[in-house]
Symmetry: none
Subunit: 333 residues, 2 copies
């Protein structure tokens, strides 16, 4: 678990998109973000106070989070001096970069000298169990998609925020690097050893109060040949009571696979339910979440209405119109 | 790669099924197996001479193979003194367990002291690609099962032997530690990082002659909640042209999961074909392989006939009656 709150390091991010990890933290866990730290040339701005390390320390920050995608997979010398100094001043470091903090001898040395922790959230730190398939108390909702990168994490976070506001018991359960950095904990599922995938999800969503909801971040798609096994492990380990179907309506083929068309939402619903019923016969699809970012307001509304009429399920873009109707549907089962 | 012949170490295997690694070597490479070594409490018996280390050494054994697979892959403390002594007496060690020989300081120390080798065949030695789903030339047959440990590897090995005898072009493609110990190569799929599972199977069964068959060893079951993701990666990475359905008729519940009944062969056929058609619309189920070891000859014949009548597919126990009819079915498509 990563100690909060954070100082968000934006480095020399060339644009806002490069800082999307930091943006996610700022959007979904604003209380974790005491400030931002930017280097010369940074063109991203989260609207947070700019702080140096001493100011962030005084404001209570415990961990410096690298909230920016780096270029070329290397940690630049300009970053290195900040990171080393942060360790010296008593910060932990957290990163989702491909280049591991622990692979930098200077950082390992500094962390050892100061007793601080390097969190490489791409690497599992837990010895996960083999899944045992036992029914657990509490309820679980899983986002499943027609493809990768269609808004499954966003959907679960939006529902989590709405449920908190309503005073419902819930936990967002991160299964990817960005989600882990946002919430400070979770399972980096795509880096888990095959035999322990489902077990890691059981571990992530343990027995809980009967009226508590885990909102489990989905990964991949049952219909995506590269990652389908990961998606199935999420269903069988998660034992969902409810599925949210996630979709991006302008996608012309599976992400990275030009030869593979997207499945229909009906196919996703039917296959995911078939799989879910193996571990939870009561599982139902309760709603559809559509990422309409590429559509104007009228086109978005028409798209949502068409899907809602076709599937007979509440259909929203939670970013555009809020997750209220999805939460209503969840609360009704 | 691993020096032969072997002394097969059964440890304190609670039943014959737990010793399936050793059994596989004994059945498919009997010339590799000079004897077995059992500890008090062992309930497995391969019908090989029981030997201590000195006797096995005198009989020419070069490597002590840990021939027992236990849940979670832990090396029991009770085994450690035997393994250390084997190294002292000049044996190499080979293991397919999750827990690595090389992670045991006592074994590393003993191996270094005696110049012997620790073979952890479960560890992937290749940087596998992400699956790209592209169609490959050549044909592929995959064994899929109603459960784990129902005879998928045996089925593929028996078909491989039969096809070689007929002069057909074929390759057994190992995906588990036993298969790798038997053939000396393959993918230790259950130890592969989640994101690379399907890619590892594409790598294992590359483009080949149009009339060449890969006989891909199956793993787990789409219906086994602990390992289903691995089974799906095999289907989506393998792009099978043909499926063999594998079954053990006396199994009362999914292995290790008392709460989960076995699926019917029809359910396995339908779900596996649904999944396979995503990557190969021409895939068909061509036969059924039943492990009738627990049945007498009459009961076995009745069982096979009942399934054959029900599914309308050639149904055999390849170990008991040969794989000829399965190979006939494969040759016919």
């Amino acid at each position: 678990m990563i100690e909060t709150p954070y100082l968000l390091f934006l480095g020399d991010a060339p644009d806002a998109l490069a800082a999307k990890v930091a943006q996610g933290i700022r959007d979904w866990r604003p209380d974790y973000a005491v400030g931002q730290m930017r280097l010369p040339g940074c063109n991203a701005d989260l609207g947070l106070p700019d702080m140096d390390l001493a100011e962030a320390k005084a404001a209570g920050a415990k961990t410096l989070v690298i909230g920016v995608a780096n270029r070329g997979g290397v940690i630049s010398p300009a970053w290195m001096s900040v990171l080393t100094e942060a360790l010296a001043q008593g910060f932990d470091l957290a990163s989702g970069l491909h280049t591991l903090l622990r692979a930098q001898p200077a950082l390992v040395e500094a962390a050892n000298a100061t007793g601080r922790t390097l969190h490489d959230v791409r690497i599992p730190t837990v010895q996960y169990p083999i899944a045992d398939g036992t029914k657990r108390t509490g309820k679980r909702c899983l986002a499943v998609g027609t493809d990768c990168s269609v808004g499954k994490m966003y959907t679960a976070l939006a529902m989590d925020a709405e449920m908190r506001e309503r005073g419902m018991k819930c936990s967002f359960r991160a299964t990817g690097q960005t989600g882990i950095l946002i919430t400070g904990e979770g399972v980096p599922l795509d880096a888990v050893i095959a035999d322990f995938m489902a077990g890691s999800i059981e571990w992530l969503s343990p027995a809980n109060d009967p009226d508590h909801w885990d909102l489990i971040e989905g990964q991949g798609s049952l219909h995506h040949p590269s990652y389908s096994g990961v998606s199935l492990a999420l269903i069988h380990g998660g034992q969902p009571d409810a599925l949210i179907l996630c979709h991006e309506p302008t996608r012309t083929h599976m992400r990275g696979l030009p030869g593979y068309p997207l499945p229909s939402l009906e196919e996703v619903r039917d296959l995911a339910l078939t799989m879910a019923h193996r571990v939870n016969p009561a599982c139902v699809a309760v709603g559809v979440s559509v990422n309409t970012k590429a559509l104007d307001e009228d086109a978005a509304k028409a798209c949502l209405q068409e899907i809602e009429d076709r599937l007979g399920l509440p259909t929203v873009d939670p970013y555009r119109h809020g997750a209220g109707r999805l939460v209503d549907a969840l609360a009704a089962i």
